[in-house]
């Protein structure tokens, strides 16, 4: 029989309700799986007791008939979310040992819905990275391996690489992620799972360690589209503590799921056919086009003319915001404090931040500081904001012709660890297809669609209009139903 850890969110929820197993059994099974997968380095902190406590509550609730939407379901929590009493570091040394006195809104909603926490998932430091190599706690390793017998450790994607790795390895059934320029979608594509970044403002940012406030958005990662819909419903909703939170009711996305795309027009943006993209990805994209047509959609070519400016604009705006957002890590009130002998305040700042931030974080703080400096602000920041507006207009124009967009998620399959870490620009190119929708604040998801010649997963991305998570999920479901993606990594860990 398939073990409990082979089950996804919906199956666990439904099986638990049906009495097939207890929540405690589920928690125990996943706790054991987590404890046995240390080679993946997917977790910074494991919290088996949290998962067990939630499970015991779920078992009581079941006997009392007071089940909640996620009763019995344990999940992983990206270490960017503040969790009360549980170390929250954003995978940084500067926050090592920091245990918040508060719970992020998103995690609080998940616990209120009955979910339990298996642990805090590793990630790129302060969510800056596409390979998980910037974590201060060592990189996560993807459970996937190339079929060349070489066993080269592969990147799980980033920044939500602990989440993607743990889900692909079946040591968690689902997890939270956050996405600033592709940090949910690219790791999902790299590891053969699904992940959705909802419309900016759907999920409260309160209690999420900030990277780039105008772009940061939480979302779920899970094995399939339905599981994503279930988790997203629990995570979303208005929060008066976040001024950018959307004051709108949360749709019932799970109930609304349908892979029938009749009447939908799906746009294929021609600018996403970039130079040097592997033929396999192009071929997969063509398959995706055939699948959505098969599901009843009409496919149209559209143009998003400013796409090529999106990445440069993103790498100005995001570092600019980050350089300011990360100023609070100064050694004065919490986290690391480096106080050399005889040091004054400025020396303490310098020593603390030099020791507490990794190289990529420092690089982005420097870039951000530079682009906001007197004399450079207009040339960089102001210009990038104009580009951002043009990108949003590109999408608005596309929506005149179509309801959704279909693109590849990333320009390559997972690369080997170390392969791109010496070349930041090559690394940044990973975000080329995910960044434009982030700049426009649109919902977008990645679904696994096939394997490349080396046996590694590839993903397709669906981008929707603001607030049309349902349309995105439905198109994702239509692809999922036709792709028949059942590949999974063999357990070597």
């Amino acid at each position: 029989m398939a073990g409990i850890t082979d089950l996804g969110i919906a199956s666990i929820r439904d099986g638990f309700r049906a009495g097939d197993f207890s929540a405690r059994e589920v928690a125990d099974a996943f706790n054991t799986a987590v404890a046995g997968a240390k080679a993946l380095n997917a977790f910074i902190v494991e919290t088996p007791d949290h998962a067990i406590a939630a499970a015991e509550q779920a078992d009581r609730d079941r006997s009392e008939g007071t089940l909640k939407p996620l009763s019995g379901v344990p999940i992983g929590m990206k270490d960017l979310f503040a969790t009360r009493g549980v170390q929250t570091t954003a995978a940084s040394h500067i926050l090592e040992g920091f245990k918040p006195e508060y719970e992020s809104t998103v995690s609080a909603r998940l616990w209120a819905a009955g979910a339990g926490m298996l642990g805090k998932l590793n990630m790129d430091q302060f969510a800056m990275g596409s390979s998980n190599e910037t974590s201060a706690f060592g990189n996560v390793i993807s459970p996937w391996r190339r079929n060349d017998g070489g066993n080269a450790p592969l990147a799980p994607g980033g920044s939500s690489g602990g989440s993607s790795s743990a889900i692909a390895a079946r040591i968690v059934p689902g997890a939270t992620g956050t996405d600033t320029g592709g940090s949910i979608r690219q790791p999902a594509a790299f590891t053969g799972i699904s992940g959705i970044k909802p419309t900016y403002g759907r999920c409260s940012r309160w209690g999420i360690v900030a990277f780039a406030s105008s772009l940061d958005q939480a979302g779920p990662m899970a094995r399939d589209v339905k599981d994503c819909a279930i988790l997203l419903e629990a995570m979303s909703g208005f929060d008066p503590k976040d001024s950018t939170s959307l004051d709108l009711p949360v749709p019932n996305w799970e109930t609304g799921l349908s892979g029938d795309l009749r009447g939908k027009r799906i746009g294929i943006p021609k600018e996403y056919r970039v130079d040097g993209m592997p033929g396999e990805i192009d071929a997969l994209w063509e398959k995706g086009i055939a699948w959505v047509k098969d599901a009843g959609a009409e496919v149209v070519e559209v143009s998003l003319p400013h796409t090529k400016y999106a990445l440069p604009a993103y790498y100005i705006i995001a570092p600019a915001e980050a350089s300011s957002n990360l100023a609070r890590y100064d050694g004065v009130r919490y986290g690391l404090r480096e106080l050399p002998e005889g040091a004054g305040l400025q020396d303490m700042y310098a020593a603390t931040r030099a020791a507490g931030f990794g190289a990529e974080v420092k690089r982005r703080i420097l870039i951000g500081t530079y682009v906001l400096s007197a004399g450079f602000y207009d040339a960089y920041y102001t210009q990038a904001q104009k580009v951002r507006t043009l990108i949003a207009r590109d999408f608005d124009a596309a929506w005149e012709l179509c309801d959704l967009l279909l693109t590849p998620t990333a320009p390559s399959a997972a690369f080997a660890l170390g392969e791109k870490s010496a070349d930041p620009l090559a690394m940044y190119l990973n975000d080329v297809f995910t960044v434009p929708s982030s700049l426009a604040g649109l919902p977008a998801m990645s679904v696994p669609a096939g394997l490349d010649g080396q046996g590694l997963p590839l993903g397709l991305q669906v981008i929707g209009k603001a607030l049309d998570e349902q349309g995105v999920l439905n198109a994702g479901l239509a692809i999922e139903e036709r792709a028949g993606f059942t590949a999974r990594p063999e357990a070597w860990w």
Binding site: R205, A320, A327, R328, D330, V332, R333, L345, S373
Partner: protein, 484 residues
């Protein structure tokens, strides 16, 4: 135009002054957090997670603070910007947990306005460039430990308005008058308590000098000056210093200075070259602030009658002298007290005279302000009523008022108990007059021979015989009759 001039070796100089006033907005909670703004709490007791800049915390604008800024703008006839935005001003300091202050550089909530001040040369309109909202910082304490500084974050995140004047002032007196008028308006509006001692209001004083009519000179900015007197001292000192520097062949450098109130001098704090690059940019945690017409109308409707309008009404409708009207309307507490006095039935002109002479005199003597007056407006109205109906003479009223100040008793009761009631009993007065005239027959003769000044003597004698309680009007009439 002001006639204020600095006499230099090369001739006369004119001073140009602009003020940036930081006024703490009256609100229960801070600008972006729910923490209390109470003054004088134990260090670090009014600090929320947001104020301490814990990871993942987000600012949420306090609508009350926005409303107070809009009301203030409306009170100085300023443009209210329906769309404004918060920016981050980035710098590192231990009293600034976020590493940035949330302020409004590019798009302030209030644009150009003006207020009118009284000067020795008449009324003068002083322009206001803008008002924006921003967060206050915390406070470093250097006297708590031999080698370390402590931080108190109670003030951190408290809402401030920065009210920036145009460089329209030309003398220390004008700067002082502007500050007083601005303070009066803020207190009327209720957007700031104007308490300069507690730091609720402080000014950065920009000063430059020039030959009259020449281009503006280079300015210096003296930070955090917290009284009207100090502002005037800063202007005087800086103007003199700058003239001396220039006349000795030096140049004024644009710099930030600090005022030393003990020595009455300003000192250089940092020059423009050391100035921070604040890397202002729009705060991505906050949406632009969009004001609806309804909101602005609501703010407008909630404004009280302001000092200029009130003074005009007192003069035009109540017949109060311009001087008294000015004194009474210059502070909202006084105006409120006066209106309570009128509401309790006092006649306006008599009330205004009494308030500005008797009450103010007494409060000065007692070292109290009007909010601490031992006599209530209702009691004062009773006292004035007793004068108006002839029960008390002016001098008796003064005696009764003194007793009121001491005991807090109602005037009617004092009159009753001390028997201070004025008498108009003609029989008693006539008897007293008859006695005085017969005892002073020589003076009666001199009076009748034309020495009319003696009339005052007879009045005084009669009042004395009546123990001060005779109605002076009746005494006059009866004396005239008796002497004719």
């Amino acid at each position: 135009m002001s006639n204020y001039r600095i006499q230099g070796a090369t001739g006369e100089w004119e001073v140009v002054i602009g003020l940036e006033v930081h006024a703490q907005i009256t609100s229960n909670a801070k600008l972006f957090s729910g923490a209390s703004t109470a003054f004088g709490s134990e260090p670090n007791t009014n600090v929320s997670l947001v104020d301490a800049a814990m990871p993942g915390m987000l600012p949420v604008p306090n609508a009350e603070c926005v409303k107070q800024a809009v009301r203030t703008g409306l009170a100085i006839d300023a443009q209210i910007h329906r769309w404004s935005r918060f920016d981050r001003k980035n710098y590192f300091y231990a009293d600034l947990p976020q590493g940035y202050q949330i302020s409004q550089l590019y798009h302030p909530i209030v644009g150009e306005g003006s207020l009118t001040v009284e000067t020795d040369e008449g009324e003068k309109v002083i322009g206001v460039e803008r008002i924006h909202i921003e967060q206050d910082a915390g406070k470093l304490m250097h006297d708590q430990h031999p080698t370390m500084s402590y931080v108190d974050l109670n003030r951190c995140g408290v809402a401030l308005m920065e009210i920036v004047s145009k460089p329209d002032m030309r003398s220390p007196a004008e700067a002082g008058a502007y500050m007083k008028k601005l303070r009066a308006i803020l207190r009327y509006v209720g957007s700031c308590d104007g308490n300069m001692e507690q730091g609720s209001m402080r000014a950065d004083v920009n000063v430059s000098v020039r030959k009259p009519g020449a281009e503006f000179g280079t300015r210096t900015e003296t930070k955090n000056v917290n009284s009207v007197r100090f502002i005037q001292q800063v202007v005087e000192y800086e103007a003199r210093r700058q003239v001396d520097v220039i006349e000795e062949g030096g140049t004024i450098v644009q710099e930030t200075r600090l005022f030393d109130p003990d020595k009455g001098v300003t000192r250089s704090m940092r020059s423009k070259e050391d100035a921070h690059d604040y890397r202002y940019f729009p705060d991505p945690d906050l949406l632009p602030l969009v004001l609806t017409e309804d909101f602005v109308e609501e703010c407008k409707a909630s404004l009280p009658e302001l000092p200029d309008a009130k003074r005009q009404r007192y003069v035009d409708a109540l017949g109060i002298t311009p001087y008294n009207a000015d004194v009474i309307t210059s502070d909202v507490e006084t105006a409120r007290w006066f209106e309570a006095l009128l509401a309790a039935g006092a006649e306006a002109k008599a009330g205004a005279n009494w308030l500005t002479s008797e009450l103010f005199g007494a409060l000065n003597r007692l070292g109290k302000d009007i909010g601490q007056s031992p006599v209530s407006p209702e009691q004062a109205a009773q006292l004035l009523g007793l004068v108006a109906d002839g029960t008390l003479s002016g001098s008796l009223a003064k005696q009764v008022f003194e007793i009121m100040l001491e005991t807090g008793d109602d005037p009617a009761r004092i009159v009753e108990e001390k028997g201070l009631k004025q008498t108009s009993d003609t029989g008693a007065i006539e008897a007293a007059i008859a006695e005085i005239l017969s005892a002073n027959a020589d003076k009666v003769d001199q009076y009748k021979d034309g020495k009319e000044a003696l009339f005052g003597f007879f009045v005084g004698q009669t009042m004395k015989a009546m123990a001060g309680k005779a109605n002076p009007k009746v005494v006059n009439e009866l004396l005239k009759k008796a002497l004719s």
